[in-house]
């Protein structure tokens, strides 16, 4: 019932669509950098799909109940992110791999964290704004067709999503976002 109250079926369908889309684009796009880009964008789509599910139906009602919500909300985010990751990674077994598993894992973790932050600050409906705008800015500023900036550490962290899997600063950034997002959403809940 909890699952249904959070609109899981629609989300699951959307994420499944993304996984299928990822597989299909894997067949269509050859350019290696293009594949990485597409993998990132599909990960973005899949993580934004979990945004509506982060809405609490009635905030005050939730707060008044005796259940401890923070751990449940934290679990919700974690499970949702892991499911997305699992589905996307599974396409690697079915089709050809678009981007390294480490890269996909990092991107999904970081983007999920961003969606959770967005839900905590802007509300579940507007939550996708945060990851979408950040990704879009990164894609324009550091075009994925070229090489992402490698030297100043802060630049690597800001463009974490287009960095190769071995860039440690990028992984750190993604982990920080994931943890911060989970904590923020668990503590604050969705704004509306």
């Amino acid at each position: 019932m909890y699952l249904r109250s959070r609109g899981v079926p629609a989300t699951a369908v959307a994420v499944l669509f993304c996984a299928i889309g990822l597989w299909a684009l894997g067949l269509a796009v050859d350019h290696p950098q293009g594949r990485v880009l597409v993998a990132l964008l599909v990960a973005l789509a899949a993580t934004t799909a979990i945004a509506p599910g982060l809405a609490g139906a009635d905030h005050d009602l939730d707060r008044a109940s005796a259940i401890a919500w923070p751990p449940r909300r934290a679990a919700h985010v974690t499970v949702a992110g892991s499911t997305v990751l699992g589905l996307l990674a599974a396409t690697a077994f079915v089709g050809q791999q678009m981007a390294g598993t480490g890269q996909i894992a990092r991107n999904v973790a970081g983007l999920t964290g961003l969606v959770a932050i967005g839900a905590a600050i802007l509300g579940a409906a507007r939550a996708p704004l945060v990851p979408v705008i950040w990704t879009a800015l990164v894609l324009q500023y550091a075009p994925p067709m070229g090489d992402p900036p490698t030297r100043p550490a802060y630049k690597v962290m800001l463009t974490w999503m287009v960095q190769p899997a071995d860039a440690r600063a990028a992984t750190v950034a993604a982990v920080v976002l994931a943890v911060a997002g989970t904590v923020a959403y668990a503590v604050l809940g969705s704004r509306r």
Binding site: V38, A124, Q140
Partner: protein
Amino acid sequence: MGARILRIELRRSVALWAALVIAATGVFVLFASNEPYGSWMQLVIVSRDIMQLTWPLGLAAGAWQALRERRSKVEELMATTPRPRWQRVLPVANAMAIAAVTAYLVMLAGAAGHVRHIDGYFPLGAIPLIALGALAMVGAVWLGQAVGALLPSPLTAPMLAVVGFVGLAVSPMIVAQDSRDRGAVLLFPYLQGPRDGGFALQMLSTRANLVQALWFAALAATGLAVFAASRPGTRLAALLPVVLGAAIAVPAMPRTLSDAWVEDRRATEAVCTDDEPTVCISRLHSYALDSMRGPAREALSVLARKLPPGPTRVLVGNDGTPGPQPADTLIVYVTLIESTEYTADTLVEIMLDGAGVPPCAGQVGIDPNEPATRELPPEPDPRYVGARQAVTAWLLDRRPPPATGAKEEPEMALARQAFDTLAALPLDEQRARVAAWRDAERACSDGDRLELLVGTGETG
């Protein structure tokens, strides 16, 4: 009454917020390029290029707005009102269109601060590009509203944005898979600039502009029609504009991208000063005209004094191909696109370099008949370069300074020697020798230039 409703929608719907977000991200990206934009045309082209980013955001904004009816649960009440759906949605569609155009124009205006020379040449060819950019954004929000009305779910807006990003990012790879030059990329809202990066000197051909205008208008019309349709049958009929548009635009599109970019002839026209001495510069760099006046006057007066008869006009050129040199014109080659700001003294030096005669290609090592190759040209003859430097120094009355470092370039030493030799001669002799040098240089004849200056003088 419709105008009043439009005003209410502008104020109360998400239109202006969406415009703000889109404009802000656009300005941010436009400013993020490290180098300021060298010309207005470059700014306009880049603003169209980043539609890979802003166009999907417009889609998402439209989809988000179209969610309003479902989110607010007003559908029940709306069903009992007499006004037909297409009249009902027209004000909010117009509000979103206004927001889209505003976002694009504000983005341009905001990034205008990043143009290096704001008073520079604003090409007429940029105006259709701007208009088409605005039209493409209108199409984005209307298409977004259409999709949002068909799929009223909070997932629609972000998904549409991401699908837009993916689609626009992947499209050039798919469309131009065989060659990078296919004209079909013009069907997409972003714009790829001319291949050689010569933004300032080119503009989009009229044919390309018209075809794009038709196609974008068809997209926008379809978006609006699908959004305003109330029944599935009408929605299907609303796809007609885009089908017609495709049927006309796809065949009419220029075959290759290189065909679509034509030379902007107005940019290379000469703009001259009204007063004497006449200084002419290409319109593209007309912002620099005023700064050329003083140095030009000085250079001409120096030449008139020391090496009569001197030229009376100055033509500031930018491309390095030397053409025939009329005797009364001093042609100066100054690269104006770069970021260096020239001081007046530097300009005078440049103008007087080689007494205003451009170096001969043959002597410098470049064969004008051979196509430019990637390899470095061979080292020019130091005697040749030394002679040129000596003449320049003689005109400026400035002895080439002695070497300060460990090793000195051979041409510097030669130049100093030549200068000293010349300075020891009587004035008439100096003048005669430099004049002989200039004649030889103008004719690009063979022979050792340095000999002319220091060698055994032929005529006494």
